[in-house]
Symmetry: C2
Subunit: 103 residues, 2 copies
Amino acid sequence: MKISEFQNLMKNLYLHQDRDRGIERTFIWLVEEVGELANQLKVKNEKDLNKISEEMADIIAWTSSLANVLGIDLETALFEKYPNKCLKCNSNPCCCSSSTDSR
Amino acid sequence: MKISEFQNLMKNLYLHQDRDRGIERTFIWLVEEVGELANQLKVKNEKDLNKISEEMADIIAWTSSLANVLGIDLETALFEKYPNKCLKCNSNPCCCSSSTDSR
């Protein structure tokens, strides 16, 4: 499924609710999902990958909802910020330095 | 671009760094991006849609990085959690109630 198709699915399913809720409260829902992911990740051993997958799906879904309310095209945003190379070192794979926080 | 293609792009570009950084610190990066989105959204008038788009792209990118470290397929996760209907009311568009928080 394309990123644009997923964003459109969210639009068809939920835009009427997302618009009514508005930008601020839709963002709060996104933050809640990040908290739910944290809740899964804090488990030290035997993390539940199914639940983690669900929370990740929710994060992408609520980001898509927020993008829909704001009229933002996520696929275009991803193309521009993440072309087929690292924007800092112009390489793929990124070879920015030995730091793991170079992005 | 497919969701799986974007996740693979993140894998090719950054997985070596993401693995070194590990789950916890990669999650912290995701949270930082959510904070950067908050920073843009708190502007009351004339929000900068370009910057908001970038922060949204970063949220999806860091979610993809985290999924890569954990071996999670995001496209599958999205299909399962968000099929072509609302899982609660079985409809598209969702008609769960007049509440805007029914999801």
